[in-house]
Structure formats: structure tokens, C-alpha cells
């Protein structure tokens, strides 16, 4: 075939020479355009090469040479493909461009969000400090002979809880003469052998409870066997073995509920002895209860301290009630004995709240809930945050990104907004320092409310999401501090009540004014924590003395205005916010 006839065939629409077709195919393949666009470009390039072939044939160039010239003059097909793609895409419809832009943005956001979510979700903590050991260290240094816990532990494990039927019938409030009192006595008799262990515990200067560890696990198992709750013991042991569970928050205080039971036993035991005129035994039982409370107050957690306060108040109230009801039945020596008991001789400074456990617990949680970048900073790990929040309530959520999607999304959103480790710790320290300053003010100082207000501001203000961990974990220390100070005031007032009883025993009448008790029966009058003044004293219309504090409303209602029901609650179902009357005691 000569060059002219070949060219004419091309002109007539026959296939282009393979070399030129190859160039076109390479360009078309490289454009990655829509099919319709490819068709258009292909047709145009075919037309271009046909025109070239004819032109060059007209100039007398052989076909092979024409093909070579056209290939060379076309340039780089790959670059042509890229540039054609760019040009054609620019010419696409605006709607397509908008759709692509939106899709690209969404895909980008999803990819970025997904990446960020994975970044947040899959962080791992790197706990490096054994805060549990730090918490236990001072106790570990105390010899077992000086620790109350071993004897207390033995007493608790031998203790028989109050029968359910008695508990349901409010057995703790029963008194000699009540219909079910014989059942109470039967229960008391079963537990009286514990008195030896309780006396031993009360004689020790230190509480000595070791948090966590094998001893607690063994105690839990023994308790579970006694209470027939084996599964709980096992799940607790598993939780303690979990390497991702903050150790301080997972420590358990299984003895707290038991202490409450033992303290009720001691009070009811005292009631029974008093009914039989066995004052020495009654005082001993109440004093053991009081000592038990003071011992518990040495606990490093706030809840132990509050339990201690509750036990102390239980013993005090019973004592004051007995003194009120049994006037004239007590001999001088019995009253002297009472004046030498811990009720009247307690050093009130032991009732100073201590928060080292709370602070260590926060530090421990931080190291389990945040990642560790090796320089003291890190980000919140949502799964660990959820674990801490659900401690003791439910199993932690799954590790898969799609497990519990809604919950995960909420946690991830929370983690994304939460402050980092350094800022969280700094904010906690600042809040602690500021609230401590207000908390240490007298109970009657109105600025003291600022301590709680600071915590409320954090949990309800603009920083609530940024510092959700603090808002959730910061205990109401102001309220705890208030309860402890009320207890200290109450301890001080109990001395005055004993002094009153001794005054009456010596002189046959109540003092007209409280000052008459000083200095023979009291070194100084107790101070009302709610006024800063000496505690209020008056004789009512029947000539009965009333000792009271103006109470939380800081207003003197004359020692009255509170109608207690048989359980010691006022008509609104709450403890009084009016005067706090210490003597005569409300029956509980």
C-alpha cells in the first residue's frame, strides 16, 4: 500500500495507523474522564491525526515518516492526559463541582473525625505510681499489736447480723419493754462473746486498716461465706486483678456496713444493761461504741471518717438520753466513772478531718484515666472514664469502636472536649486550695458557702464539660467538714451534759446558768460552732435544762421548735435545720 492510498483510507474513516492509535489510547486511558468526555477527546485527537496525515501526505511525506512526525510533534501523551483531564474537569457542570466539593468535605471530615475518634478511643493509660502503697505506707509501719483492725476484723467475722425480721421492724429503735425486745435480747446474747475482741480493738491506739491487698480479699471472702454471697467476692477479686482499674477507686470498704451493725449492737446492749441497772456494763458498751467511731475516724477515706462520726453520734445520743431519763438513779461513783470515760475526756483535736485519701484517689484515677506522654501530660481515655464512672455498677463497655455506638459517641464527644491531664490536675489543685480556704471558715461565716459554690460553678458553668472528671469526683467536702465539726461540738457538749448530771447529783438541782459548771465540773463551756459563742443553756418551764446550738440556720429559736418523731426526725421528714438540741436527747 503506498502512502497516498493509505492516507486516503484514513481520510475515508478507516482505522488510524497503530502507532497513532496507541498514542490516543494512552492519552485517553490517562485522562480517567467520564466516558462521554473520553469519547469527545478521542474523536478530536483522531480528527487531529487524520488532518495531520493528509497534510503531510500532501506535502509528499511517506506514511511512516508522517506518523513519526505526528507522534513527535504531539509531545508527551502522559502529560497531555493530565492536562486534558484538568481542562475537562474545569468545564464540568457547576452542580457537579458543588457535589464533589461537599462530598470531599464530608469525606474529609469523616476521615478526620474517625481518625480523631480512634486516637481518643484507643489511648492506653500508663500508671506509674502505686498510690495504694502510698496510702498504706504509714499503717504498714505500725506493729500489729498497736492496730485495732485485727481484733475488729475477728469481731466482725464472728458477728451475727440482726435477723431480717428485726431489721424490718426497726429493731435498732427498740427499747426494753417493747413487744419484740426479747428477740433483741436473744440476738444480743449471741453477740456478747464479741465484747472481748471489741475491748481489745478499743484498747489499740491505731485503726490500722490496710486498703486492698490480700488481707482485704481474704476478709471479703470470709464475709461472703458468712453472708452466703460467694459470687460477689469473686467478682470483687476479679475487679482488683484488672490492670486497667484504678486501684484506689476499686478498693472496697466491706467492713463499713458491718461496723454499723456492730455499733447498733453496742447501743442496744447498753440499753439492755441500763434497763437492768447494770450501769457499768451500759457505760462500757456505749464507750466501746464511741471508741469504735473515733477509731473509724482515723480512716483515710472520707466515707470512713463520716461513718466514724455517725457511730460517735449514735453513742453520744444514747448516753445523753440515758442521763436524761435516769437522773437520780446514778450514784456519785458511777457519774465519776462516766466523767473519766472517753465521752468526757476525748481530745477534740482527733476529730480534725483529713483528706489525704481523697487526694491520692484523684491522683490515682488521673493516671488510669489519662494517657501518659512521658512529660506529665496526656489526654482523657473515654473507655477508662466510663470504667471509673461505672465502678461497682456495671461491666465496662466493649472495646470495639462500634460497640454501644451511642454511648461511645457521647464518651468520645466528652473526651474531645475534656481538658488534658496537666490542665485537669492544675484545675483540681486550684479548686482544692480555694475551697479549702472557704471550708476552714467558721460554720457561721456566710462566705463558707463559697466552698460548695466553687464546685457548683465548675459542674454547672462553662467549664463543666472541660473538667467533667473533677466535677464528678470532687466530694462535697464542705458538707463532710460540717458534719465532722458538728460531731466535735457534740463531743464537747456531752462533757457539759455529764457535768450537768454531776452538778445535779451533788447539789440536788440544775444550775441556773451554765457558768455554774465552770470550773468545778467543766474547764470551760462548750462553744457553739454555729455562733462562736458558748453553747446555749436554759431551764424550760418545767425547770428541765436545755443545751442547744443555734443550728444551721444560725438563729436562736429558744431551744425549741423541733418536733421529733420516734425516729428522731422532724415533721418535714428531715433532721432539724432549726436549733440543734443536745439535751434532752431526741429518742432514736
Amino acid at each position: 500500500m503506498d502512502s497516498v492510498s493509505s492516507t486516503r483510507e484514513c481520510e475515508a474513516g478507516a482505522a488510524l495507523p497503530p502507532a497513532l492509535t496507541a498514542v490516543i489510547e494512552r492519552v485517553i486511558r490517562g485522562t480517567r474522564l467520564w466516558p462521554s468526555e473520553k469519547r469527545d477527546v478521542r474523536a478530536e485527537l483522531e480528527s487531529h491525526f487524520r488532518e495531520g496525515l493528509i497534510e503531510l501526505a500532501d506535502e509528499g511525506l511517506p506514511l511512516d515518516a508522517s506518523i513519526q512526525v505526528l507522534c513527535e510533534s504531539f509531545g508527551n501523551p502522559d502529560m497531555a492526559a493530565r492536562l486534558i483531564r484538568r481542562g475537562k474537569k474545569r468545564g464540568r457542570p457547576m452542580l457537579w463541582k458543588i457535589a464533589i466539593s461537599i462530598t470531599g468535605t464530608i469525606v474529609g471530615l469523616l476521615a478526620a473525625g474517625g481518625g480523631y475518634a480512634a486516637y481518643l478511643k484507643y489511648g492506653k493509660p500508663n500508671p506509674s505510681v502505686d498510690y495504694l502503697a502510698e496510702l498504706n505506707e504509714p499503717t504498714e509501719l505500725i506493729s500489729e499489736a498497736q492496730r485495732a483492725w485485727p481484733s475488729l476484723r475477728a469481731a466482725i467475722l464472728a458477728f451475727e447480723p440482726m435477723p431480717q425480721a428485726l431489721t424490718d421492724a426497726n429493731g435498732a429503735a427498740m427499747r426494753p419493754g417493747d413487744e419484740q425486745w426479747p428477740e433483741v435480747q436473744e440476738w444480743l446474747a449471741k453477740n456478747r462473746p464479741l465484747m472481748a475482741e471489741l475491748r481489745d480493738a478499743a484498747s489499740k491506739p491505731y485503726y490500722g486498716f490496710i486498703y486492698g491487698g490480700d488481707d482485704t480479699t481474704e476478709f471479703l471472702k470470709a464475709l461472703a461465706i458468712r453472708n452466703r454471697t460467694g459470687d460477689i467476692a469473686q467478682s470483687i477479686a476479679e475487679n482488683e486483678a484488672d490492670p486497667l482499674a484504678p486501684r484506689l477507686i476499686s478498693i472496697l470498704l466491706p467492713h463499713l456496713a458491718e461496723i454499723r451493725g456492730v455499733s447498733r449492737f453496742l447501743v442496744l446492749n447498753a440499753r439492755d444493761h441500763a434497763a437492768n441497772g447494770q450501769w457499768e456494763s451500759a457505760w462500757e458498751s456505749l464507750e466501746l461504741c464511741h471508741r469504735l467511731g473515733i477509731t473509724m475516724f482515723q480512716g483515710k477515706t472520707l466515707i470512713e471518717q463520716l461513718m466514724g462520726v455517725a457511730v460517735v453520734r449514735l453513742a453520744q445520743n444514747e448516753l445523753v438520753e440515758m442521763l436524761g431519763e435516769r437522773q437520780g438513779l446514778l450514784s456519785k461513783s458511777e457519774l465519776e466513772q462516766l466523767a473519766q470515760s472517753q465521752f468526757a475526756t476525748l481530745d477534740l483535736s482527733v476529730l480534725t478531718p483529713h483528706y489525704e485519701g481523697e487526694r491520692l484517689m484523684f491522683s490515682d484515677i488521673v493516671q488510669y484515666v489519662f494517657t501518659d506522654d512521658g512529660m506529665g501530660n496526656g489526654r482523657l481515655i473515654p473507655s477508662q472514664y466510663a470504667r471509673v464512672m461505672s465502678m461497682g455498677t456495671e461491666a465496662p463497655s466493649g472495646d470495639g469502636l462500634l460497640d454501644n455506638l451511642g454511648e461511645d459517641a457521647t464518651l468520645l464527644a466528652m473526651a474531645a472536649q475534656h481538658a488534658d491531664r496537666v490542665d485537669t490536675v492544675a484545675r483540681y489543685e486550684r479548686l482544692w486550695t480555694e475551697s479549702s480556704r472557704y471550708r476552714s471558715l467558721p460554720l457561721y461565716d456566710s462566705n463558707r458557702d463559697m466552698a460548695d459554690q466553687l464546685v457548683r460553678d465548675l459542674s454547672e458553668g462553662g467549664d463543666a464539660k472541660r473538667f467533667a472528671l473533677i466535677a464528678t469526683l470532687m466530694p462535697s467536702m464542705s458538707r463532710a467538714d460540717q458534719l465532722i465539726r458538728e460531731c466535735a461540738m457534740s463531743c464537747d457538749v456531752v462533757r457539759a451534759v455529764v457535768a450537768l448530771a454531776r452538778f445535779r447529783s451533788d447539789r440536788g438541782e440544775w444550775p441556773a446558768v451554765a457558768d455554774q459548771l465552770v470550773p468545778t465540773y467543766l474547764d470551760a463551756l462548750p462553744v457553739d460552732a454555729y455562733s462562736g459563742q458558748p453553747i446555749r443553756y436554759m431551764l424550760d418551764s418545767q425547770g428541765t435544762p436545755v443545751l442547744y446550738s443555734v443550728g444551721r440556720n444560725l438563729t436562736d429559736e429558744g431551744g425549741s421548735g423541733v418536733e421529733y418523731d420516734e425516729r428522731g426526725y422532724n415533721a418535714r421528714g428531715t433532721r432539724t435545720t432549726m436549733d440543734m438540741v443536745f439535751f434532752p436527747a431526741a429518742k432514736k
Binding site: E44, R50, E55, A80
Partner: protein
Amino acid sequence: MQFERELLKGVLPLAVMKMLRQRAMYGYELVKEVSTQSDGILKLGQSTLYPLLYNLEAQGLIESEWRESDSGRGRKYYRLTESGLDRLERDLEQWDQLVRGMGRLVLGGLQPRLAWLFA
């Protein structure tokens, strides 16, 4: 003559639009006309021409249509649009200023006698 690519970047669209002001042309014809009318100084690489045409078309400065030639072959003709014409006028004016400025800058100090050519 081989020009620096960056130098040609702004010139080639102007050259193509200038050609299309004369009449509608198809791709291969444009290549030839640019070369001919520039006395062979400007040579349009064909891998550059078509992307350039698609870009101008995307900007609405030119438009295209397939037509059948006398010989029956299909050709895609490009012609200048109204907005392309406006743009060409503006670009030519700028080009004129640019050439004058460059002429003075390059030749003014060296050959004052030739400077009048660019005035």
C-alpha cells in the same frame, strides 16, 4: 525557538484567542496558523494545545462545535465567544503595555536610537 515554559504560559492563550478572532478553527489548523503567523517563532505543542482549548472553553472564552468538512471529515471547530472577545481586548491592551515596558527596560538604556520603535 524553545521558550521557557513559564514565559509561554501567559502568551499561548492570548495567541490562540487572537487566532480565533479571525475565524473559527479546528485544533490542527490552530497549530499551523500560530506557527505560520508568528513566522515559526511560536510552536504549539499538540499535547499543550488541547488542554489549553479545554481550559478556555471551561472559562466560557471559546466554544466548540463539530462540523463536517468539505471532504466529509468531522472537525471540531472553536470560536471566540463574546466574553472571550472582551477578555482578548483586555489582554491585548495589557500585552501592549507589557511589551512597551519591557522594550524600554531592555533596550532603552542600550540602544536609545531604537527605543522609538517601542514608543
